[in-house]
């Protein structure tokens, strides 16, 4: 009965109701997008870092992984010291380098990772096999396409120049043993992975026994934060970063987006609340005579309150459902814009739809709809019945 009366009341000014619903839907979409933006980066970044079970990264002291060209010397000793830390199960050393592939019409520059294929966590093999021999490499699709090469082909690779002799330094012929997707690089990046020892040897004395990064896997039951602190104590030449630390660092760098999401989300919620409040208040003002009549014929105050609150909830609920669809659509569009950041790994999403967060956000909106209906409902329920009827009759 109450629901029916509320529906009738909303239907009486259909265009107004639709417009208010649209307003709430846009607010809901905006709120949902901002919730997705606030949580998306953190979740997808943490998911990316946690792939393959590597929970800690150790890079040259004072730097973040691959944030500079700095390297750690005496890498074998450092790796052994890290491996001795309680809770550490695997240490995967990585050396980054720029390589020049000389088989194309003009030398093609690519980013190379020197890894231990048996423990690496930087790429996923798509075809072929890992670089199990020192003269093999796996390449990204972007690099293979640029070189017009396939798995099984051989390429000449160098890691530097000798400007005096006008020759390439650290030259080698390598067999492409596989195709790979590099987890921390974008699909457009030309990349290759070789054995760590190969990259170190090609780099000459300057790269001997040096690495850019250690990726560390800890036992599932181990405290990653305690292991991180222990690594820094054991090897003071490195800065160790747990997933939580890395996510915090990334959030710090991208705090702008999180704060923008918070501000716009709050504004959306306020706009939705104001819209429903105004709509219901005006609706109540228009029906003040009707409400007085209802009260006069014995309809209880609670009934009046319920009916008016239901109107606000109905607008909010309908707006939230439409907003959900609208929000997911706009989030996809906004995500596609932000995914245009140069060098962004494929696995990173700025807007991530999580049913729980979406439900929480939209529930908040519906709650604001209930709150929005309370004031006009209370006002309508506490009308002086006789005076209102007389006023309405006299005009």
């Amino acid at each position: 009965m109450r629901l029916h009366l509320a529906a009738l009341s909303l239907r009486r000014h259909l265009s107004r109701t639709l417009l208010a619903g649209l307003g709430v839907a846009v607010s809901a979409a905006m709120l949902l997008d901002m919730v997705m933006l606030a949580t998306g980066m953190r979740e997808s970044f943490a998911g990316l870092l946690g792939r393959n079970g590597f929970t800690i990264r150790a890079s040259p002291r004072g730097t973040l992984p691959f944030d500079s060209e700095a390297t750690v010397g005496d890498a074998a000793d450092a790796a052994a010291a890290i491996a001795r830390v309680n809770g550490v199960t695997t240490v995967a050393p990585v050396l980054g380098a720029t390589i020049h592939v000389l088989d194309a019409d003009a030398p093609v520059t690519a980013f190379a990772l020197g890894v231990d294929p048996s423990v690496q966590g930087d790429y996923e093999l798509l075809a072929g096999q890992d670089p199990v021999s020192p003269n093999e490499l796996v390449a990204s699709d972007a690099l293979l396409a640029r070189l017009s090469k396939r798995v099984g082909d051989t390429v000449a690779v160098a890691v530097g120049f000798d400007p005096q002799l006008q020759t390439y330094a650290g030259r080698r012929r390598l067999v492409i043993s596989g195709r790979a997707r590099f987890l921390f690089l974008s699909a457009e990046d030309r990349a290759a992975a070789l054995q760590l020892s190969t990259v170190q040897e090609m780099g000459g004395p300057g790269r001997r026994d040096r690495v850019s990064l250690f990726m560390v896997r800890t036992a599932p039951a181990a405290d990653a934060e305690a292991a991180r602190a222990a690594i820094e104590r054991e090897v003071p030449r490195v800065t160790a970063l747990s997933i939580a630390g890395a996510v915090a660092e990334a959030e710090n760098r991208l705090s702008y987006f999180r704060q923008l999401a918070f501000i716009l989300g709050a504004v959306s919620l306020i706009v939705g609340f104001l819209l429903v409040t105004t709509m219901v208040t005006v609706s109540v003002n228009e029906r003040i005579g009707e409400i007085a009549v209802m009260r006069a014929i014995g309809v209880s105050r609670l009934h009046v309150v319920h009916q008016i609150v239901l109107e606000g909830v109905a607008i909010s609920l309908a707006g939230a459902v439409v907003g959900l669809v609208l929000g997911v659509g706009t989030a996809r569009y906004l995500n596609s814009i932000l995914r245009g950041f140069p060098g962004l790994p494929d696995a990173i999403d700025f807007f991530l739809f999580q049913p729980e967060s979406a439900l929480r956000a939209l529930s908040l909106l519906v709650l604001s709809g209930i709150a929005a209906g309370i004031y006009p409902a209370w006002r309508a329920a506490s009308l002086p019945v006789a005076a209102t009827l007389r006023e309405e009759a006299v005009g």
Binding site: P60, G160, P163, L275, T278, M279, V282
Partner: protein
């Protein structure tokens, strides 16, 4: 003019409690090397011009170079450095090459051409004889490095459009409700013999006034918000960069848009009211 440049990460052991500011070391009589540090490093490590610090290529290195701080450099309002919290230090090229065991190598050369030089031709000639490096026009590098900001700019524009749609719906709704509230007044005016066009004009005038007042208030709010945003983010990112700028164009667009919506909503509602029989407006 050619200016070579080498960038390298150095360990400057001064930010910790054991900051090695060694004022007691007397400057070398022969050549005392000097460096410039950025204001962020100076503030964080409590360094001043004339202080001496030890530089090393790696943390914990047993030996380093003792240098004197000759200048403190202001950070430029560079958007590409906004999210970076690292410190900047300027050294003489040969000094850094030696300290980092970099040999006779540099990361890049910056070339200054004569004002009337054909830059493209210079770039072509350099590339024709180049081995191990490539020349680019500054403009081309600027285009490449500004891709990040193009993405941010596109994102802001998209958010702006969504915000405009949301606020336009809100504004339209409020204006319609506001005009609808006047149904009894309109009915009374019509019964007194006021013409429909006068009713429409008066309601439109009222809604325009409300929209103008609201937009002026909005401009004021926008200016205060922009000031707050700048103060907040300049302190968060420690940069003189301005994050929010309210331009005359922005003000003009927002005022025009709200006026347009206000007048549009007013006209729509007023026409509907004027077209309804006065007694029906009274609910009879």
């Amino acid at each position: 003019m050619i200016s070579p440049r080498l960038v390298c990460i150095l360990a400057v052991p001064l930010a910790s409690a054991t900051a090695q500011r060694i004022d007691s070391v007397s400057p070398s009589a022969s050549v005392e090397r000097t460096i410039a540090i950025d204001e962020r490093l100076a503030a964080d490590a409590g360094l001043r011009i004339g202080d001496r610090v030890v530089l090393a290529a790696e943390p914990g290195a047993p030996r380093g170079d003792t240098v004197r701080i000759a200048a403190i450099v202001k950070r430029r309002p560079d958007p590409s450095e906004v999210a970076r919290s690292d410190y900047r230090l300027r050294m003489h090229l040969d000094h850094l090459q030696r300290l980092a065991s970099y040999g006779d190598r540099v990361d890049r050369f910056s070339l200054q051409t004569a004002p009337n030089a054909a830059v493209d031709s210079v770039v072509r000639r350099v590339n024709a004889g180049a081995f191990g490096f490539r020349a680019y026009r500054s403009r081309a590098i600027a285009v490449e490095t500004s891709k990040t900001f193009l993405v941010v700019s596109r994102f802001h524009r998209a958010i702006g459009v969504i915000t405009i749609v949301a606020s336009a719906t809100f504004l339209l709704c409020i204006m319609l409700l506001k005009v609808d509230e006047r149904r009894r007044d309109v009915a009374a005016m019509r019964l007194m013999g006021v013409s429909r066009s006068t009713v429409v004009r008066s309601v439109m005038l009222e809604s325009s006034f409300v929209a103008l007042l609201g937009s002026l208030f909005g401009v004021g709010l926008g200016l205060v918000t922009a000031w707050f945003v700048n103060v907040h983010y300049q302190s968060v990112y420690r940069t003189p960069l301005r994050f929010a700028i309210v331009t005359p164009e922005t003000v003009a667009i927002s005022v025009a848009l709200s006026l347009l919506l206000g007048i549009g909503a007013g006209a729509l509602a007023a026409r509907r009211l004027a077209g309804t029989a006065p007694l029906a407006l009274f609910g009879r």
